[in-house]
């Protein structure tokens, strides 16, 4: 099993979720996060005072998938979240040792 983490543009999250659902992903964890990469921040002006806002708002998705689905899931996220402009985000994959469903005690693939 693998944990796929994707940090994407907030307005893209709904599209990504729908695409993943169509593929068969049944759940994920979503959080509002902020950070920066090559996009850096941006400037906002309030009553003439210019502020450099270093952090850019993003949405982070966390999905645990079977090994066989990793490439598809990553591909769907990249394809759907892509605008081609700076700040589209990143996707990374890490191995997961085990998963337990709290309600039943099911383990690993059965718990996904």
């Amino acid at each position: 099993m693998k944990l796929v983490t994707a940090v994407i543009k907030p307005h893209k999250w709904d599209e990504v979720r729908e695409a993943l659902e169509t593929f068969g992903v049944t759940g994920m964890t979503v959080s509002e996060v902020s950070g920066y990469g090559r996009q850096k921040g941006h400037t906002e002006v309030y009553r003439g005072a210019e502020y450099d806002v270093a952090l850019v708002p993003k949405v982070r998705l966390e999905i645990v998938v079977e090994d066989a689905d990793v490439d598809d899931v990553v591909g769907i996220v990249v394809k759907t979240a892509q605008t081609g402009r700076i700040g589209d985000g990143k996707v990374w994959v890490v191995p997961v040792e085990s998963v337990v469903r709290v309600r039943t005690g099911d383990r690993d693939e059965a718990a996904l």
């Binding site: 999250w13 709904d14 979720r17 659902e21 049944t26 759940g27 994920m28 964890t29 979503v30 959080s31 509002e32 996060v33 902020s34 906002e44 002006v45 309030y46 009553r47 003439g48 005072a49 210019e50 502020y51 450099d52 806002v53 949405v59 966390e62 999905i63 645990v64 998963v99 469903r101 996904l112």
Partner: protein, 457 residues
Amino acid sequence: MDTGYAAWMLASASMVLLMTPGLAFFYGGMTRSKSVLNMMMMSFGAMGVVGVVYVLWGWSMSFGSQDVATLFANPFELFGLRDVAATDLVFVGFQATFAVITCALISGAIADRAKFSAWMLFVPIWVTVVYFPLAHMVWGGGFLSGAENGLASLVFGVADGIANVAPVDYAGGTVVHINAGIAGLVLALLIGARRGFGKEVMRPHNLPFTMLGAGLLWFGWFGFNVGSIVPVATQGVGGERGAFFTNSVAFAENFVGETGLVWVNTFVATCAAMLGWLLIEKLRDGKATSLGAASGVVAGLVAITPACGSLSPVGSILLGLASGALCALAVGLKYRFGYDDSLDVVGVHLVGGLVGTIGVGFLATSGGLFYGDGVRQLVVQTLVAVAAMVWAGVLTLLVGLLVKAAVGWRIPEEDEVEGIDFTEHGETAYELTSRGGAGSRLAPTPASTPSSEGALA
């Protein structure tokens, strides 16, 4: 008794009282999310304490008949509204709401960092030492009115007990706005800047609040300005207020005409000021902002306050444009000079108050320089504005120092970083952004067939 006038005064007083909660929203939206409650509480606190003080000795000090050295009236004459004529009570209510909002206005200069106890001690002392006397001087027949022993009479002479060139402050350019603006500046200097001022990002946390507040202020301001009419049949220095109630045709014509003019002027100057502020922003910063629109509204309302009874509607447009543009430029001064007038009480209320008070000297249809009536009104307006600034500046400093010595102004630095809402009031405004936390969580839109498996299923 003219019951229509009485009814309008009751409505006006209620509208002006609504301005203070409106101001709480206007200011509250501009603070950071960790200090919005304290900001709003300074307005509500002022309502509580000034309301009580006004009934006890505020009215007596402002509008009582026992003048002391043209500066204030005997606070004990009408203490607790004893011996106040029944027909005067509505004016007590109306004037009390002015004292409330003037104090509340000052709080914008000291956002995020002042002890609530210090504020609640400052307000009753300040309103007694600074505001009531100034209200007496300008509206109660004192030194800055058209009284025969007043400043204007000393400069340009007096006839029949009234100054030849009487100062014009229809609804409080000096008493309310210049006064609050100077007080804000003095407190900002005395208390010192917020931690991180000029370095950290201190952007407004809720601009819709600020726009809501600007709307409430605009609405209430029609009571503020239009309710400030003193009908012609009863004008005069220190006149008997109970005599305001008449039924004559002349009164009715004067009342309808003047209230209509003041309403339109208050409306159109504000529209123009918003445009003036947005134009400066567009030219200087590249974008017209919602904060600029809300600020422009207030800048226009401030400027038209002293002038609304003496300008034409077109003159009001010019005054509004000037105020919107000048205030938009003035709010940058605090960064240049390094004083942390957090929410621009100086840039909006002092500057706007000066534009309006001095603008009367240019734009008054009777007495204004632009109408060929010479500079005498302009001179009187300027002198009155300067006198009000000196009065407010010196006495606010003394009151501020007194409060500093008694309880101290600043909350501890770590409390300021933590957030004054929690450390001073034991509350936080919003449940979603955990205090000091990194941010809130997104609530995912439920899928068409809700999964009972939950996340990571």
